[in-house]
Structure formats: C-alpha cells, structure tokens
C-alpha cells in the first residue's frame, strides 16, 4: 500500500486526536475487555504418571483433536492431576515443563547409523537397522558365549556384549528386556539403580528384610521429626517433600537438615547442620553412641523386635579398623565369623538379660563407644552443639508416641561406604522404635520414575525378578542346589520366614520364561538360565571394555557417557567397542561419544571404529504401562499421542530384534540356541507384545486348577485365571508368575494399578489408589507399629491392630493375618529371624556394623579412628582406576556432585523450559575460598581432578562453609552434574570427568559424592586482546 505524505498526515492527525481523546477517558466506542479464552475447552484429557522422579506424580495431559480418525493427537498442555493422593495437582519444575520434553527438538525421529570412522549420522530404515544389529549380535554371541564352565556346569554366559537398561522405562519394557537378555545369556547388564540406590537395597534388605522405602510419600506427614540427611528432598523430590512441609504445618513437626551444603531443603528447615562430605558414619555412629549413653532407647521394641539379644559367635572381632576374617591377599572378608551362635537345633542362642558380652547389644555398644561427640566434631566438622541438638531431637522419638522419619537419597548411597551409611540410620531407627510406624521408617527417595520397578524386575547383573538371585556357577550348579541354598533355614522358632516359599516363586518364574518347555523333568529349564561368575556392574563392564573384552553394548534409555564416573575413561572404553546400539527418545552423549566437542570431548572421530545405531523410542506420553514409585505404588499410565515420525515403543523394538535373532538361529543354528528357541513367546503379535499382555504375566496366572490345601474340594484359583495374590503360587508347574511380588496387581478383578479411589482410610492412607506391592501394603513392617500384645504403640498412629481374631485396620497387615499376639511370631517376616537386624551378621561385604572409613580421595591423610586403616579394606578398585586417584597435594578441596531441582539428570537440558530455568553449568564455592582465590560472583573457573577438568561459572555463596576437620581447614566445592553437548542449554562439560571410578563395597555404586579437586580462576581476557 502506498501512502502519500498528505494521507499520512491525515491518518496521523486522526490517530493523535483519537488517542488524545481516549487518553482523557472519552473513548468513542466501548472496546471489549475479555480475558484470554480458556485453551483446553474440548481438548481430550488423558491420565499419565510423570516420567522423571519416583514421587510418581499424577498428570493430566491435554491433546489436540477429538480422537477422530482424521485428527492427529498432539499433546498441547500438561498439568497435575488433583485427584492423585501424593501430588494433589502439583508438579515440580521438571513436571511442569514436560510438554517441552515431548516436543523437544532433540527427540529422535528415525533409525540412524554412524558408520565406523564416520563423523555423521546416516538415516536408515528400521528393517536395515534390525537386520544389521541382529547380525552383529549373533556373530558376537556365537563366537563368545561360554556354554559350560571348566567344571562342566552349563553356564550359558555371553559376556562380550553388555546391556544397559532403563530405570525410567515401564515395567512392561523392563520385564520383556529381562526375558530376552537372560535367554541370550547376558550377565554384563545393569541399570541406573546400580549407580543410584543399589546400596539402599543392600542396606535395608539385611536390616529389615526388604530393600525398599519403608513407608510412602503421604505418610511423611505423620512424623514428629523429619531428618533429611544424605539427600536433598526439596531439591530432588519437591512434590513428595510437600508432606514434610505438611508435617511441619499441621503437626508442628521439626525439620532438620544435615548436609555439606545449605541446600533448598535447608531453606525451609528448623535447623541446618553442616558436615564434611563422606563423614556421615561418624555423625550417625555418634548418634548411636549418644542414644545408648543417654538411654534414649525404645527398650520394649528393641528387645522384642530386633536381634539385640542374639549371641554372636566367638570368632567375631573388630580390631584396628578391620573386622575378623579379612583376607589380605584377596582384599575380601570371609564373613563366617560374623554369624550367630546357634544351639543344637540350629536356632539362635540369646541372652534376654542383655548381659552376655557377645550379645548384639553389647557388641553394638562397644563398637560405637569410640564415636564420642569430640570425635564427631573432629571428623565431620559439625559444631558439637548442633550435633547434640540433633541427638536430643532424635532421642525424643524413642518415646512410643513420638516418631521420626528420615528422608535420604544419593548423598548416602554414592560412597565406598554407601550401604553402611544407610545401615547406620537403620540401626538408629530401630533403637528408637521408628520402623513400621506411621510417620516413621527409612524413606529411601528413589531416583528415576521406575527405578523401583526395574529393581523389582531384577535388571541388574546378578538378579532375577522379585529379588531372587540369578544362579551362580559355583554355588548353584543345579536347580536343587539353587533352591537349597537360596531358601533360608528358619533361625528362630515360630517365624513366618517368608522366603521359605522361594521354590514357588522361582518355579512360577521359570514357567514364565520357558512356558511348556519348562517341566519337572528338565528342572523347569534351569540349565538354560545364564549362571554368573562375577558381578558385572557398570564399573566392571567399563573396565572390560577398556581391556577390549567387550564387543557390543546395547544401551536402552541410559546415558552412561554422562553418568558413569571418570568419563574420559568411559570414552576410551566405548571407542573399543565394535558396535553400540542406543535406544532412546532423545539424543544422548552416549550415542554421540565419537563426536569431537572441543575440550569437553576431545576425540578423533576418524579413529573410532565403533558402529553406532541410534533407535528412536517413545516417551511416557506415547505409551501405556505401569511404573512403581518410591513408595512401591504401581501406577498405570495411558497413551496420549503418537510418537514423532518413526519412533517406536521399546517392547516393539526389543521384540523385532529378538524375533530377527530367533529367525537367524532357526535358519542357521548357532551356539547355545536352546534358550533362544525355547523362550516362551505367547504374544498375540510376536513383533509387538502389548503392555497388557506383559503386565498380566507379571501378576501371574494358574496353568492348572490350584486346590486349597486346607480343603481340596475347593479351588484357590481356576486354570487360566489370573492369580489373586502370591500365596497361591505353586512349585509344581501349575502357576506362572514373572514377578511374584507383583501378584495382585492385575487379577480377575482387573487392573488394580489403575484404581483411582483416593478415599483416605486414616493417616493419609489411600489403599484403593493404584496397587502397592507386596499385597497392597502401604507401610512395610506395620506389625511393628503394635506392641507384642497387638496394641498400637501410639493409639493416634493406629494403622493395624489385633482385633481378637485377626490383624486388620487401615493398612494391609505385613504379617500373617491370623497369627495371634503371643504366638511367638515376630514382625519382620522376610528375615529368617523374624526380627530386624541391628547387627547384619554375614549379609554385607564390609562388616556387620557400620564403621567410618575415609573416601578413596580424602582431604585427611589419616583416619583418627584407626590410622592404619584409612579407607575401607573391602573396596574393590581396578588397578587402572587406582592409578587415576589424586591426592590432597595437588587437589586440596573436597568435591561433591549433585542434581538441581530445575533439571532431571541429563534429559532436561534438552527441554527448553528447563534450559531456561537453569541454563548454564556452574559450581558452588564458599565466600572464604572465593576470597582466597580472587574469584568473584559469576567468574569462569576451572575445576580439575586427577582425571579431568571442567570449566564453569562460579556461584559464590554463604551456603557453603569452610569446616575445620582434624585440625585442618577443609573447603568443599559443589558441582551440579546436568551438562553436556546434546543440549538446548549452554553447552557444558560432563561433570563426571572429575569423579573416581570406585564403588560402594557391597554394590559398586560409584563414589560421586566425595573426591578431591582443585579450583582455579580462569583469567578474563582483556577487551580487544
């Protein structure tokens, strides 16, 4: 449009006149003053569960289109589900930004390959991808599978290809993965659980019988004291943390935070107490000593429900930092001397008077007498006054009507003493009588949305579903050996000893693996299972890759390039692979490890001969299935949209791959084909088993009528029916069940995991929402909430009670429902003792009682408790990794890594909303250290360890304080870990180039939380230079 000068004047004058008139409130027409139209009217609403952390918040997803054939659904908005009992409509900054995850520009859309030596991705068809991968796998398996070991035991072990599985994937993906990889003979396999909460299972199992968070999210509101230590609940689990705030608001509960940093949880706490990273056992051991010395013990509980009165064998001892039975050559303990003294019937000897010098009580007392408040102050740097305040607060909850809970996460697990950190707290909570109580327990706040489920499903090197162990070649060469050795003998009279049913769970699982091919005659297909020789955890697998002993790596929803320690060595290890397969919704640093990204990944692509396949998978919004939150709630989620472009659901990808392999074995034969050919595959579409089919197998069904043993004319379950619970499982081949603890989740009554009745039956318990394993119990060990006579210790915290005939109440009793008080049966039904273990006998690799050892990289050159044994004697470290440890001479500061609430691991840097909320890599340093180094707020700094370095912005803060430890000054540097090169945020360095490759003595969970670093200011380049 052409406007003349004159016309322009006319328009301008008119406009000026109009706006002048309008400005004085004389608008000629009434303009509308409507609000923006509500954008969801008519949109389809789909329910889902958040894919990030294990709070398991409920989601409402809104999608474009009515669902008609002609519309393509697209998620346009996500917000919280107000009906969800835990989240009640809330979402954290990650959950609030889920829309941008689904629509991330970094979602993978097509199968791609990076050819050996290439610098780029090439798009390929699914057909080509599957064919080529299957060919790689078969060639490697045929060449390298070990059919029998030297003793002739069939071991079916394929170690030259490793599999990393995804703790964010649904149970259905997980169980199909388990089925396939064991049929192939994979033992070198691990999931994120290994590098996050493996020590939790290792600590809580031996203490109480099960490895899971004892209570649940909402139950935290029933606490009188919330201790957050070894974790940062507000930061990592904001929505679950609301129940701690609720306890403060409604009950006047106190919130105490003990942490190296004044963190987001501390910002709302009544008391923040600093300590040195890696000194938790000193602090907790000090608490144990204080409770004993000041008689803050729930005596009746301790005597009745723990092994305090049990007598330990004569050979047990602890001297100069080493427990009895240490084999210096092997660097391992022979644990036999840590056991109970048994009588002629094989039952534990006890001393009800607690006088016997070798009864657990006296051993405990003696062990922790060394942990005086002075020692605590000296080694942790915690002010004594603060330490004593924490002791007093905890001590108050030894009263039967006072309860403390503890919330922890990776701040305890990720140490060489990770398992023992948690054990220390387990002991404290038992002394205080806080286990089994509403508002009590030890609440392990799990990480990934389904890390609990994937752990339940046993996607760990040496596990099978339902916390059964994969057979070991030496201990379990035959089925009979396996059952005999893994089934615990009762150690006290009258106990339930629930694991005595192991054979039922195991045989039912074998029927799931092998179907009709599993018969009594072939020991239910036992020989087809792989038998392990060593634990192939992530560190071990990396070491084997380094040594060139691994040819293939299949990575499903995992980003080991970002999350394994000593990332520079991980790149070297990956570079030695022949093939790698990455299945993921997003681009990951793992898939592009061969790309040069300057200082942050300085590789020569042309020299890396690994063929890398990158397969696009769906995300949570594009699939249905179940995930298990930290409180063991199995929750069903629904599909809201189709995946982008050619992305496929994980079960479909896995099935296509397995079918391709099976075809090759059928056509060509090959090494050890039996497990592959005999694997039960009863799915309607063999190329795409449905989540419903898979989940129904996890619940289990009867393959024949199962008669009631009390009255054989009645049937407990009819042939073909879903089992109602795990008590009907049989070891005669008449039942099939993939995961015995999940029995009850999908019964003849339907999908129990999708239940949505959020009625509160008291104390915030919602038993008809979803399904909690085992048997829908919401507070584990709840029999211990009542005294031996069956009366609740605290009438206001009544979750179950004995009504004269049965146990019952708002929760499902974690006990034999008709075992009367006085029958002699004790509350911890999963242990052979029936009691909880203050003293863990032979269950752990590094000692029956927690002892403080320094981190492998310590700012101290001694351990004042035993100067001859500074670090734990039971540490396993590979020589190459030991060489890479640094000392305080060059690396004088303590580094500790952690997560930020704005981000989830390495995903959300690819989510625009989260990239906006926290855009750039930084480290946190104290004002004192900043002064010393001349570092100002926002300066670029270099943080280095003996293994590598990162550059990041400096956040100078009062929230980190200099501590005095063993007469020396200790500075700590906080290092968040979310950065990398596949990102919408600013490109960053992999934080894990800094961390050492050494793990927890029991589980090999890496020591990410305490190591040594140096800090330098990066000089700013003058303008114009």
């Amino acid at each position: 449009m052409q406007i003349s000068r004159r016309q322009f004047f006319k328009i301008s004058a008119a406009g000026l006149g109009y706006s002048s008139l309008a400005a004085v409130g004389m608008a000629p027409i009434a303009a509308q003053a409507e609000v923006r139209q509500f954008k969801l009217t008519g949109a389809r609403e789909i329910r889902n569960i958040c894919t990030y952390c294990s709070v398991g918040c409920g989601l409402l997803m809104y999608s474009l289109g009515t669902g008609s054939k002609n519309s393509k659904a697209e998620i346009i908005h996500i917000e919280g589900d107000p009906d969800h009992p835990v989240s009640r409509g809330a979402l954290c900054p990650k959950g609030s930004g889920l829309l941008d995850f689904i629509h991330s520009p970094h979602r993978l859309k097509y199968p791609e390959v990076r050819e050996a030596g290439s610098k780029e991705w090439t798009r390929i068809s699914w057909h080509e991808a599957i064919e080529r991968i299957a060919r790689h796998m078969k060639a490697d398996r045929d060449a390298n599978i070990v059919a029998r070991n030297a003793d002739g035991v069939p071991v079916n072990r394929w170690l030259s290809t490793g599999v990393l599985t995804c703790s964010a994937a649904s149970n259905e993906t997980g169980i199909l993965t388990q089925k396939i990889i064991r049929a192939l003979g994979i033992v070198a396999t691990d999931t994120q659980a290994r590098i996050c909460h493996a020590p939790t299972v290792a600590a809580l199992g031996p203490s109480f019988g099960r490895g899971a968070m004892t209570n649940n999210w909402v139950d935290i509101k029933n606490a009188d004291l919330v201790l957050v230590m070894g974790g940062n609940a507000a930061e990592a689990h904001p929505v679950g943390f609301r129940w701690a705030i609720e306890a403060m608001k409604q009950r006047g509960a106190k919130l105490v935070v003990v942490d190296p940093r004044f963190n987001r949880t501390a910002s709302v706490a009544d008391l923040y107490v600093p300590l040195r990273a890696g000194s938790d056992i000193v602090f907790l051991g000090g608490v144990i000593n204080w409770l004993i010395a000041n008689d803050r013990i729930q005596w009746e509980y301790v005597k009745a429900y723990t092994n305090a009165r049990s007598i330990i064998g004569e050979g047990y001892g602890f001297e100069d930092g080493v427990f009895s039975g240490f084999d210096k050559e092997q660097g391992r303990y022979d644990r036999s001397s840590w056991n109970y003294e048994l009588d002629e019937q094989g039952k534990i000897k006890t001393d009800p008077t607690l006088q016997h010098p070798r009864c657990v009580w006296n051993l405990l007392k003696a062990h922790y007498a060394r942990y005086t408040p002075e020692v605590v102050n000296d080694l942790t740097g915690t002010p004594t006054e603060d330490f004593l305040t924490v002791c007093e607060l905890l001590g108050e909850t030894s009263a039967p009507n006072k309860v403390a809970t503890v919330l922890y996460a990776l701040g305890w697990t990720e140490h060489t003493v990770g398992t023992q950190n948690i054990r220390s707290m387990a002991i404290i909570q038992l002394l205080l009588g806080n286990i089994g109580m509403a508002g009590g327990g030890i609440n392990a706040l799990r990480g990934h949305a389904n890390v609990q489920g994937i752990t339940d499903i046993g996607l760990l090197s040496t596990n099978l579903p339902g916390y059964m162990s994969l057979p070991n070649e030496k201990n379990h060469p035959t089925f009979a050996d396996y059952i005999a050795k893994v089934t615990p003998a009762p150690l006290r009279d009258g106990q339930l000893n629930y694991w005595s049913n192991t054979s039922r769970f195991f045989v039912s699982q074998m029927k799931w693996f092998w179907g009709d091919k599993a018969t009594r005659d072939n020991d239910w297909g036992y020989d087809w299972l792989p038998k392990w020789d060593k634990l192939y955890d992530t560190l071990h697998l990396t070491e084997l890759m380094q040594q060139g002993k691994v040819n293939g790596l299949i990575v499903q929803g995992f980003n080991p390039m970002g999350s394994f320690p000593d990332a520079n060595r991980v790149v070297e290890a990956f570079s030695k692979l022949r093939y790698m397969v990455v299945i993921d919704p997003l681009a990951t640093e793992t898939a592009s490890f061969w790309q040069n990204h300057g200082e942050s990944n300085n590789v020569d692509s042309s020299k890396i001969m690994t063929e890398v396949f990158r397969l696009p998978s769906t995300c949570f919004a594009e699939e249905e299935g179940s995930t298990v939150n930290s409180g063991r709630w199995m929750q069903w989620h629904y599909k809201g949209a189709e995946p982008p472009a050619e992305a496929k659901a994980d079960p479909e990808i896995l099935a296509e791959l397995f079918m391709a392999l099976r075809d090759l074995y059928q056509q060509e034969g090959g090494s050890v084909p039996e497990p592959i050919l005999n694997l039960s595959w009863p799915y309607n579409d063999p190329l795409s088993p449905s989540p419903v089919e898979l989940t129904r197998e996890m619940n289990g069904r009867a393959l024949a009528d199962v008669p009631d043993p009390k009255d054989p004319t009645k049937l407990l379950v009819k042939k073909g029916e879903q089992v109602p619970n795990f008590t009907v499982l049989r070891d005669d081949g008449s039942t099939l069940c993939a995961v015995w603890i999940y029995a009850g989740s999908w019964t003849e009554a339907g999908n129990m995991m999708a239940r949505r009745d959020n009625t509160d039956t008291g104390l915030g318990n919602t038993p008809n929402w979803a399904f909690a394993w085992p048997a829908n119990r919401r507070v584990l060990y709840n029999r211990a909430s009542c005294d031996p006579d069956g009366k609740p210790w605290d009438p206001k915290r009544r979750i179950i009670a004995w009504n004269g005939e049965r146990w019952g109440g708002g929760d499902v009793p974690d006990f034999k429902a008709d075992a009367a008080p006085g029958s002699g049966m004790d509350p911890f039904i999963m242990t052979a003792e029936g009691q909880a273990r203050l003293f863990a006998v032979d269950k752990l690799a590094d000692g029956p009682l927690p002892e403080h050892y320094e981190p492998m990289e310590s700012p101290l050159v001694t351990n004042p408790l035993h100067p001859n044994q500074i670090t734990s004697p039971a540490v396993r470290i590979f020589p190459g990794d030991r060489e890479r440890l640094g000392s305080r001479d060059n690396f004088p500061y303590v580094g500790t890594t952690y997560r930020l609430t704005e981000h989830f691991q390495f995903w959300t840097k690819q989510v625009r909303l989260n990239a906006i909320a926290q855009p750039e890599q930084f480290v946190e340093i104290s004002e004192a250290l900043a002064r010393e180094k001349g570092i100002a707020q926002g300066d670029m700094v270099k943080v280095s360890s003996n293994r590598g370095f990162i550059r990041a912005k400096a956040v100078v803060t009062k929230r980190l304080k200099t501590l005095t430890v063993n007469q020396q000054t200790v500075h700590q540097i906080g290092i968040p870990l979310h950065w990398g090169w596949e990102t919408l945020a600013k490109k960053g360095y992999l934080t894990n180039v800094l961390t050492p490759a050494v793990g927890d003595c029991n589980t090999q969970c890496p020591e990410y939380k305490a190591f040594l670093v140096n800090l330098e200011k990066i000089p700013t380049i003058a303008a114009g230079a």
Partner: protein, 291 residues
C-alpha cells in the same frame, strides 16, 4: 449482559461507567515465602500455560534464572542469602504482579482498555489495545510490567485470568509442590496467612507477618514473610505507593488536558465558521502522488 466473563472494575483511559450490580468474589494469591523452596515450578508452569519461552540465558553467579522479569517471563524467583543471629537464611521470593487494589498501571495507562481491572481483583493487560507507551512501567510501584522490543507491547502476570474465569486456580498455584502458593478468596487467604504467621511466631520468627501494603489499597497477591518488618530483605518496597507523577496526571494534568483539547475544538470550529474548509489544490495532490 456483559461481553466478558469477568466483571470489570476499571479500564484504563476509559470513563464509561462499569456495570456495578454484580458483586463477584474477590480473589487473592498467597505466597508463603517461608515454605517456598525456590524450585521454580511456578516459573515453568507459568511459561507453559501462557505459551511463552524466554531466551536461554546465562548464569551470572546466582540461582536466579531468568535473571529478571521479561515479556516472556512473568514470574521469577529471587534468592537472597541473609545471616541473622549467626544463622543463615536463604530467603526466596516469587516475584511478579501484585494485582493491586489501586493499580498504578491502570491509572497511568493512556490506552483505552489496554489494562483492565476486574472486580475479582485481577489486573489484566490486553496487548491488542496496548500502544507501548510504557507509562504503566512508571506507574507500577513494584517494577513489574515489561515492554517487549519485538512487538512494542507490555506484558505481565494475568493471574491466569483465563483459568480463573472458568473457575480454576492460576497455573503457578496449582503446580506449587510445597503448597507455598495458595489461591482463593482474599478473606480465606488472610485466614490462612494468620495461621501461618502464628506457626512461624512459635518457631521463633517474632516479626512474621503478612505483606498486603495499604499504600496501593492492598494487593491480590500477598506474601507471608518471616521478617515482615523488613520486606526489603526480600526485595520488596517497605511502603509502596503509586508514583506522584501518576497522581499528578490524574489529579491536575487530566482536567487541564481536557480543557486544552476543548479549547482546540472550539478554536477549530471558530476557524471553520470564519474561514471555511481548508482545501488542497488538485495540483498539489497530484504532485504528492507522483512523488
């Protein structure tokens, strides 16, 4: 029948009387900074709901990000480390529009209907009427509105007027993990605040209190503060009031302007009557068009 879903209290630069018969519920958002963990869920959900994405910024040595409010960031968290009696406190405040009862923005805005105050207390910017003059920036005692360089319009928190109009709470409130954000009638929010303040006083915060500043007639976004005697610790003004310039404009300048304009009108009429219409010769017109 009104054309809008929420009843109007005031409209910028408009003197047409508003319907006054209906008396809808007065709403408020309560921000309890003492239970805020600074997780930024509110920030993210605000951007998600309102379809805005700020550019990815930089870290300048603090947790704050985006570092300031912007046309694409209507609420941001502000973090302050304060040492009190040997104990460190990390004071974290969600910053955004206060939805004043006497909104300086509405009073200062010269564009009709660009800013609307609804009877429920929400103050909403309607960008299609905004001329981008920026007077509201001066008029706001809390430094909230932000002028977009892209489209010359001013943006700020709408208290999710679109959600509230259909009976839902604002997006930030719904998503708040710890319940530090609450939404409801202003009266209910004052009751909840009083409970929180009593709880805080028991926990040793003697000066805990409610921030609902009378200088702007009270606000529809209120804060529970541990140190209500020192709002400046949180970056809040002690006694916010509308800028005297705005008062001057409304008090003195406006009648003067009306008088001036009336005078111009009369003068024009007089000129027309006496001199007749101003005509432009066809030649000049052609010249112009050729140019």
């Amino acid at each position: 029948m009104a054309l809008q879903s929420l009843d109007i209290e005031r409209r910028s630069a408009t003197t047409t009387p508003v319907p006054g018969v209906r008396t809808p519920l007065e709403v408020a958002k309560l921000i309890d900074v003492t239970t805020c963990i600074g997780c930024k869920a509110c920030q993210v959900s605000c951007s998600e709901w309102n379809d805005i994405r700020a550019p990815v910024g930089s870290n300048i040595g603090v947790y704050d990000n985006p570092i300031d409010l912007s046309p694409q960031a209507w609420t941001v968290m502000r973090y302050a480390e304060v040492e009190e009696g040997g104990r460190l406190q990390w004071l974290i405040r969600k910053d955004g529009c206060m939805h004043c009862a006497d909104p300086g923005c509405v009073l200062s805005c010269p564009a009709p209907d660009a800013i609307v105050q609804f009877k429920n207390g929400i103050v909403d910017f309607h960008q299609e009427h905004c001329t981008g003059c920026g007077y509201c920036l001066t008029g706001c005692p809390f430094n909230i509105p932000r002028l977009s360089e892209e489209d010359g319009k001013v943006y700020k928190c709408s208290l999710c007027s679109d959600r509230v109009a259909v009976g839902q709470e604002p997006s930030c409130v719904k998503t708040c993990p710890t319940g530090a954000l609450r939404f409801g009638s202003k009266e209910d929010m004052q009751v909840i605040a009083a409970e929180r303040i009593a709880n805080l006083q028991q926990r040793g915060f003697a000066n805990a209190g409610l921030y609902d500043p009378p200088g702007v007639g009270g606000t529809h976004v209120m804060y529970v503060l541990h140190h209500a005697d020192r709002p400046e610790l949180y970056g809040l003004p002690q006694d916010p009031a509308i800028s005297p310039l705005v008062e001057l404009w409304k008090g003195l300048a406006k009648p003067l302007a009306i008088a001036t304009m009336a005078l111009v009108g009369f003068a024009s009429l007089f000129h027309y009557v006496t001199k007749g219409p101003n005509a432009v010769s066809k030649e000049i017109e052609k010249e112009e068009e050729a140019a």
